[in-house]
């Protein structure tokens, strides 16, 4: 099954090309150009990883990250930004981002991070499944 990624970035030129390159590498990619749409998308679909820009008009990256994790704490969010400062990266990691990357980024690096994120998410999912199965079995008196 292909890895599913959501790209959230206001630079459409950037998301368009990046998504095309990812797709040629076998990933399934959706793109949106703002945080609000991104939050809508994660409600509807399953994503293995989210690639999120930090500086966006309207809802900015950190805020979007916070909202998304509220919606689904297991989400694997990679922040990708042209305005990388130590302060911002610390803030992002504190908020729950898994990675903090600086634009421009090497595609192979990004994909390996996404792959890592997908594995982590899968293991998290399995764990939750086991927990819920165990819960159900306990309920039923097994």
């Amino acid at each position: 099954m292909a890895i599913r990624v959501l790209l959230v970035d206001d630079e459409e030129d950037f998301t368009e090309v990046l998504s095309e390159r990812m797709m040629t590498r076998g990933l399934e990619v959706d793109t949106v150009d703002n945080g609000t749409d991104g939050i809508e998308m994660i409600k509807k679909k399953w994503y293995d990883a989210i690639v999120l820009d930090l500086a966006m008009p309207g809802m900015d990256g950190i805020e979007t990250l916070r909202e998304m994790l509220k919606e689904n704490p297991d989400l694997q969010v990679i922040l990708l930004t042209g305005r990388a400062t130590i302060q911002k990266s610390v803030e992002a990691v504190k908020e729950g981002a898994v990675e903090f990357l600086e634009k421009p980024v090497d595609i192979e690096t990004l994909i390996s991070m996404i792959t890592e994120a997908q594995k982590k998410k899968a293991s998290l999912f399995e764990k939750r499944m086991e927990e819920s199965v165990a819960g159900v079995m306990k309920k039923k008196g097994w």
Binding site: R21, T85, I107
Partner: protein, 569 residues
Amino acid sequence: MNQNQTESKSDALISGVSPMRYRRLWRFSIIITLSVSLIPLMILAIVNYHQDQKAFHAENRYTVSQILTNTKRNLESVIKERRSALTLIVSEQSFDELCSEARLTSTLRNLKKSFGGFVDLGLINSQGNQLNYVGPYNLEGKNYKDQEWFHEVCLRGVYVSDVFMGYRNFPHFVIAVKNEKEGVADFVLRATLDMQLLNQEIHSLNLDRYSDAFLINRNNVLQTPSLHYGNVLDTADIEVPPQVRNREVIEESTESGERITFGYAHINEAPVIVIATKRLQNPFRYWLSHRSSLLWFLVISVILIVIFVFYRATWMVNRLRTSDMKRAKALHNIEYTSKMATIGRMAASVAHEINNPLAIINEKAGLLKDIAGFAPDFPIKDKTLNLADSILNSVDRCKKVTHRLLGFGRRMETRKELIDLEHLMKEVVGFLGKEAEHRNIEVQYNIPKDVPTVENDRGQLQQIFLNLVNNAFAAVPDWGKIEISIEEYNDNTIAVTVKDNGSGISKDNLKHIFEPFYSTKGEFGTGLGLSITHDLVSKLGGKIAVDSKLGEGTSFSITLPFEKTDILG
């Protein structure tokens, strides 16, 4: 490059004032303080001197006046006594009795015994013939009829002469009295007295070496010897004072310019004048000798005041200068810091703005490479791939530049972190990479692999390194060489050395290079770089040292403290 220029420049930078200002201030404060403290002292000394002079003159006049009074009184009484004795003899004894030689001899003996000073006695009748004589000379039968004194004694009844030599050939004077008894023939008793009698009176005054007292007659002939005017019977070079009732004291200058106090008094009993003089000592010398304690006090006070005033003025002006310098430095520091902060913020914002389009270029070139790479062979496939790669390489280079700019911007945030000095130094030199290339400057690193990391402030270390490397670049000529070494100095110190092969710094300049506003770059330097570097290094707990040889180059060494930690631990 001219040292004077740089010094005047450094002074001119302090509040925009000329260096002469401090010299003027120094001079002014010395003059004012000295005047205020010394002028009253001097006025007091002068007033004291003048008062002393007055007292000195008054004392001299008093002394002379006393000598005159005493001498006059004594001489008058001496002569009067003897005259009275003779008058008594003449009135008590008859002419016949006095004609007896034995009688006259005993009378002379008695006079000598009772009064002293008598030399001989003679009895002269009214014709002027000496009828009887007792004494050491053979003068019996001498006729005095035509002599002036005889006329005078006949006329007035008594006569006292001045001192003269006469027949006897020694200085003497004469007292003669006439018998004025009624019904008896006139006769005269004439006594000769030794001049020493007068001299003794003057000797008894015990005069000091500045004083002189003597007698003269009305023709300026000395009657007693004088210290300054000659011996007995010499003619003295003195203006004969006019007749005065009592005595008179005046001050006058001698021909040699000496001041003397001069007094005279007429003796009532004899035709002589007593004269007393007192030569003035040098008044200043007199003052010096009489007021030595005051003088010492004055001299010591003046010396102490001068020393204190000089010390105080120098101290004050130096302090003022230092505080002016500190203030100007602080102002420059603030200006410099805020300028650097602005540059940092601008650099960061430029880097951020560039990163976004750079990301797009990166992705597009990447996509181009992907498309070409996955496509089956086509005629210009290799060329396309190469072009895409070269775009990606350029993007990579741009990214490094923006990274550095961001690092530069971060400099202003102060906090401690673990720093790889080699990495930091290379980053700093990277800023000047292009210049090094253009000027063919060789930068050689001398850094061992196991250099420990240092926990310190990245931004400030970066600034220190940048200042040192910048200075080295400014110092070396084209094709020059810069050596950078980092080594463990000892267990807890690490040394960073930047060495250039430029023209070097002279010993004179070397003493001042860490002082604010000291620049050898002329118009181009603020003179603050090394001063700020020095302060920063101290702030970070390190030390900076410089070593330079003219013509060979300069090396700056910074030692920084570090704590050895086990990396694995």
